[in-house]
């Protein structure tokens, strides 16, 4: 009996040891945990935040199932499944900084992808640097992120907003060279101010004879635009520039359209593309619209676009809008960088037979890349996305550049169609490395040869 008990105890101890050993072996890495931050409430949720979240979920599902088109066909990221932790971006920059710390320090995510608001991006970037956590900015536009600072851990896989204004002006002058009087209505916060300043500077540089008549800057979320519309009508502009979006854009269009503001004035909606299906009959024919890049209706056919449209439609029942394209870019960029880091490691491993510690060296080469290695692979990376080729060309290889496009609307059979689409290459609409956007515009779009 006694021997039996001892034996049993031995077996139990061995079994326990075995379990703990195998648990240790599995501990190395079983998934990639991504913190995803987007607006789930507030005015930016409907048009931007929720489409980005739906896109993230659809993309992650498809990537984890290994169903994305090549070269993205491997499961998850580098064979490891992606695990999403989704956080609401609402509440302002201060709240986002503390939420970011929670994500990194308590939830222990491997990467953070997120932020639509420029203010949130500007606030979170330095904290990412402080906590040394790889962070991919999702959809914010302000060029100041990499123009005013330099980051090692922060990347942005979508182009910045300067090209929106520059390409809008080029499109306008191409199609309407006789334009003389220009007014604007933009929200009184970072993005609205930047959009207008870039547009004003561009049009004054390209066509100094243009007169800027009236620049309305209503409060974000103002809701009532009666007086602004009167002032715009009285200023008798040829063209009205607007970067309004979301509820503000819809309220402005609802109030302006019955008052015949657009009978004589042509409208330029820098970020108008996602609203075309929401406001049929309210967007006047001949409105110039953009999608902040070659997204949505401006995206050219490719296996990547077809893939995004398919997985997004299966989840949301709608065509993906530009925040969904930005989301695809961020996940595919991260995946491309991670897998390039894997290949780089294996490629630079000591050739078999030449080294003493072959086993250790090979294990090292095939282990998942660490953060430093992913960052090295991410810098200056070029990868394919549903909106075209993305080049991480600015901000020392941390800021993407892409071409963009604009088109003109017409109302046909109950839907708004976009025609006369013109594409602008990245080099024509984006400043070169080391020059801030406003300086570049004022220099007359000079490029070093």
């Amino acid at each position: 009996m006694k021997i039996g008990t001892v034996l049993r105890a031995c077996v139990a101890v061995t079994a326990a040891l075995g379990i703990s050993l195998s648990a240790q072996a599995q501990d190395k890495k079983t998934s990639i945990k991504i913190g995803f931050v987007t607006f789930l409430s507030g005015p930016a949720a409907g048009p931007f935040g929720v489409p980005a979240k739906v896109a993230a979920e659809a993309i992650v599902e498809s990537l984890n199932a290994g169903k994305a088109p090549p070269p993205y066909q491997s499961k998850g990221i580098g064979g490891l499944p992606i695990e999403l932790v989704i956080i609401d971006e609402a509440g302002g920059a201060t709240k986002q900084v503390s939420e970011y710390r929670t994500l990194v320090q308590r939830q222990d995510v491997d990467v953070v992808i997120g932020y639509i608001g420029s203010g949130d991006c500007l606030a979170v970037a330095p904290v990412a640097e402080e906590l040394k956590k790889l962070t991919v900015l999702l959809d914010c536009g302000t060029p100041r992120i990499f123009e005013d600072a330099s980051y090692k851990y922060v990347f942005r896989t979508r182009p910045h907003a300067t090209m929106d204004a520059v390409a809008a002006t080029m499109y306008l002058l191409d199609n309407r060279p006789a334009v003389k009087r220009v007014s604007g209505i933009n929200q009184n916060y970072a993005y609205g101010q930047d959009s207008w300043n870039d547009f004003e500077a561009t049009i004054k540089t390209m066509k100094p004879a243009v007169e800027i008549i009236s620049s309305q800057m209503p409060k974000f979320g103002a809701g009532q635009y009666g007086a602004e519309i009167s002032a715009l009508i009285s200023s008798t502009p040829d063209v009205i520039h607007s970067s309004l979006w979301g509820g503000d854009l819809e309220a402005f269009m609802l109030q302006a359209q019955p008052r015949d503001l657009f009978k004589s004035a042509q409208l330029v909606l820098v970020a108008g593309e996602p609203y075309l299906h929401r406001l049929p009959g309210k967007i006047p024919d001949g409105t110039i619209v953009g999608a902040r890049g070659t997204n949505g209706v401006f995206a050219q056919d490719s296996p990547f676009k077809r893939w995004l449209v398919e997985v997004y439609k299966a989840k949301a029942g709608l065509e993906p809008n530009y925040p969904a394209y930005s989301t695809a870019q961020s996940f595919l960029g991260l995946k491309a960088a991670y897998e390039k880091a894997m290949r780089d490691k294996i490629g630079s491993a000591i050739p078999m037979g030449a080294a003493k510690n072959v086993k250790e060296e090979m294990e090292k080469a095939y282990s998942p890349p660490n953060q430093e290695e992913i960052i090295a692979a991410f810098e200056k990376l070029t990868f394919d996305s549903p909106s075209g080729k993305v080049k991480m060309a600015l901000g020392k290889g941390h800021q993407a550049v892409m071409g963009t496009a604009y088109g003109t609307t017409r109302f046909e059979n109950g839907v708004v169609k976009v025609g006369n689409i013109k594409y602008y290459e990245a080099e024509r609409v984006t400043p070169p490395e080391g020059v801030t956007s406003l300086d570049w515009i004022k220099s007359g779009f000079k490029r070093p040869n």
Binding site: L40, S41, G42, P43, A45, G46, P47, G49, V50, N188, S214, S215, Q216, M217, P218, K219, G221, A222, G223, Q224, G226, A227, E228, S230, A231, I233, S234, G246, G247, E250, A251, L254, Q255, Q257, P258, R259, D260, R278, P280, G281, K282
Partner: protein, 303 residues
Amino acid sequence: MSQLLAVVIDGIVYASWLFIIAVGLTLIYGVMKILNIAHGSLYALGAFTAVSFCTAWFAHGYAAAGSFAMLAAAAIVVGLVFGPLIERGLLRFMYGKDEVVLVLVTYALFLILEDVIKLVWGVDPLLVQGPNGETPYSILGNFEASGLSYPYYNLVLVGVAVATGAALTWVLTRTRSGKLLIAVIHDREMSAAMGIDVGRTYFVTFTAGAMLAAVGGALTAPTVSVVTGMGAEVIVMAFAVVVIGGLGSLPGAALGAFIVGMVRAASIHYKPELELFSVYLVMAVVLIVRPKGLFSGAEVRKI
């Protein structure tokens, strides 16, 4: 000259809108000494309910003109459901507590109601719109003034504002219940001792205030896209108006709304970059000269 006329029209329209929103806030404060932050939520509830009612109306294919009845119905329903619910279910347990405590209670209520709205209506922006894009805002047509066209809907706003102000003034000064109300405002305990049903007075006042907030929301709904968080935007402007006029003062709310509307319209027409600044500048100047607002003469004679 024509621009001056445009400023006056724009100013009056905006002032009317502000007055409709602010008057319920000042009424509740005047009688109950509650600074009701949840006023913004009641405004938003009015707007969301209006969207639902109008959408159902259009879905049945009824005449677009009837959507005005739906706006009114939305305001009445929200007022009659949420007013009594909040007053009987929550606020009556708080009477007699410090004003600061009540601000916190209504702020908590505001946060709860914002989430209720999200749960019920979701986060997508909603539009009051018929099958062919017609809205109560556009179906009335436009009128011309100083070379600009304005929708007649703006006159509806002005009409509702004037009618509300006149009706409240009449009730407060010409009717028996108005006199009882003023007695309650003067001295709650003494009124109760004299046999006035203070609880009932509070109940009616809060319900009326809630309904006024919902009227503001329902009338705003056709002109905007109805989104979560719209209540927070509005409560700030409403506070600015009632603080300029003097908290709890009916003529104060009217004058405050008029001043803010005019200043805002003038700055938009002549100096657009000063729009936001101008409103708060007026507020600061008024508070420096009269720290309790323009109409805050005798402490007891509010409303």
